[in-house]
């Protein structure tokens, strides 16, 4: 079979500690930035930082960086499906009020 996952890859301790520190720094950053009023950017920044953190966990703690493409695809499918579920539903919620309800007859 061509799909191959290099699970034998043993990462040096330094990387694990570096990842841990990066996650901590990002946590502090997201708390710090939350106290500033950036308008709609607040949500954007918070979600972006969370995504970066999740991405780091996926890459290093969950070894996705060294794994087969099919595992990437699986994780991505879950994420994309959630985004699409949300996008379609929110598109309804946001546009529901655009057209006034029909008058009674």
């Amino acid at each position: 079979m061509t799909e191959h996952s290099g699970n034998h890859h043993i990462m040096p301790l330094k990387i694990y500690l570096g990842v841990f520190l990066a996650l901590m720094v990002l946590t502090i950053l997201t708390v710090w930035v939350a106290f500033y009023d950036l308008g709609f950017l607040n949500v954007f920044v918070a979600v972006t930082i969370a995504c970066v953190k999740a991405y780091i966990v996926l890459l290093y703690f969950m070894h996705l960086r060294y794994n087969a493409r099919i595992l990437w695809l699986t994780a991505a499918a879950g994420f994309i499906w959630f985004v699409l579920l949300t996008a379609f539903t929110v598109s309804d919620v946001l546009t529901r009020g655009w057209l006034p309800p029909p008058e009674a007859w």
């Binding site: 079979m1 799909e3 099919i70 499918a77 879950g78 499906w81 699409l84 579920l85 379609f88 539903t89 598109s91 309804d92 919620v93 946001l94 546009t95 529901r96 655009w98 057209l99 309800p101």
Partner: protein
Amino acid sequence: MESGDTKRKHYLNIENTPQSWLLTLDHKRIGILYLVTILLFFFLGGVAAVLFRLELLTPDAHLVEHETYNRLFTMHGVTMIFFFLIPSIPAVLGNFLLPIMIGARDMAFPRINLASWYVFTAGGLFGLAAIVFGGVDTGWTFYTPYSSTYANSNVILAALGIFIAGFASIMTGLNFIVTIHKMRAPGLTWFRLPLFIWGQYATAIIMILGTPVIAITVLLVGIERLFGVGIFDPAIGGDPLLFQHLFWFYSHPAVYIMILPGMGVISEVIACFSRKRIFGYHVVAFSSLAIAILGFFVWGHHMFVSSQSMYAGMIFSILSFLVAIPSAIKVFNWTATLYKGSISLDTPMLYALGFIGLFTIGGLTGLFLATMAINIHVHDTYFVVAHFHYVMVGGMLMAFLGGIHFWWPKMFGRMYPEAWGRFAAIVIFVGFNLTFFPQFILGYLGMPRRYHVYPEEFQVLNVMSTAGASILGAGYLMVFVYLVWSLFKGRRSVSNPWCAAGLEWRVSSPPPQHNFKKAPVVDRDAYDYTDEDVYKSDYDSGGTSDG
């Protein structure tokens, strides 16, 4: 144990203690366990259908009152959908055949496979408890806030049952995908796979990405009822439409969980009984994936009159039209396969031909319903009921029966009586159409679904429908009786009674415990009916005992 060594050992007779069945890790036995379990639910759902069809013989409430009637159609919907149709082909035929068809000794995760049956049975017991303690009256759709706040029936039990059974479905899907990816025999490339496998694969994608959403949704309804933690409760600003979005995000694709494996069966049967490779193999394979993926993003067509945004409705309507394309591709390609094939009309083929016709009617009326303006006219009428049953019963159940007949000799090593089989197939076809075609007309004339009384002018069509249901029921009963009879008295089957291509026909009937005594190597495409080699039963010729 069997007497003497002269008898060939296979998965059925290798050991027959209760624990050898209840603790089995053999995918074939698990398939049989599922078969027995879902038949029980089919029977229950059928009883409910008989009762409310009888009630609908007359315009007035003669047999049951509205309270009971609501519980009956809910029982019918819940058991048929969640406990029969969804597991039917994947968990029975899929479990039994998938490893053999790809040349594997078992599923990738046999323990998870067995666990899925236990989880399913546990979910089923909750569903049964809901019925025994008085039933549920919300309809199978569990719309909030009725289900979460107002209904005073066993919503929690039913919701828990569906929640639990959902995980059985997820386990099955997970097993299928890993097995198809990792366990194929040498030489069995993706485009040599039987289309049945492609269908199961597409189904498994939906099971994994869709089922968890219904699980959390019914769990939230349960939490809201049990602890009063309002999620959909309008009193605190909850949005009942959120429930409908979540519900249909699963429940529309669930229709494809029910139909895609059926389409896989039809591809196998059509190829075998017209002695031809499926026309446009690649396109048919990809159309399964296209249906699975596109089918996720059409769910809003159930909500056109729910105060869903008109704009979202338009998008959902367009996407619903698009999903008809891959379905139509399949129908055209099956028809093209028949062209100039040497067709024999054995029982499985009768079901397959029935499937093509009825599925086409069901699919085309689906386009009516996806059109927003027409949907408003026929919404929540018998038109929807008829459409749904043309796809689910005319489509899926036909495919299930066709598949059961096709692989019956493989599963049990016995032939069913062919004449009875053909007769029953025709009875079922006639009964089905008599039951559900009048419902198209009823719905178009405006008879709403889910009512136990109706204006008198609808009686003629309703009587036709009930008469048809009786014929349909008699047909099912006939099938059940002769299949059980054949288990004991049927003619013994050879390895490949249909001279069909495919690895499952190259092991003996019933297959040995670990499927293959000699590891299979595949060197040809699927449905290669030009090559005489495919009929050899050469992968278990290694002796009479199972090593």
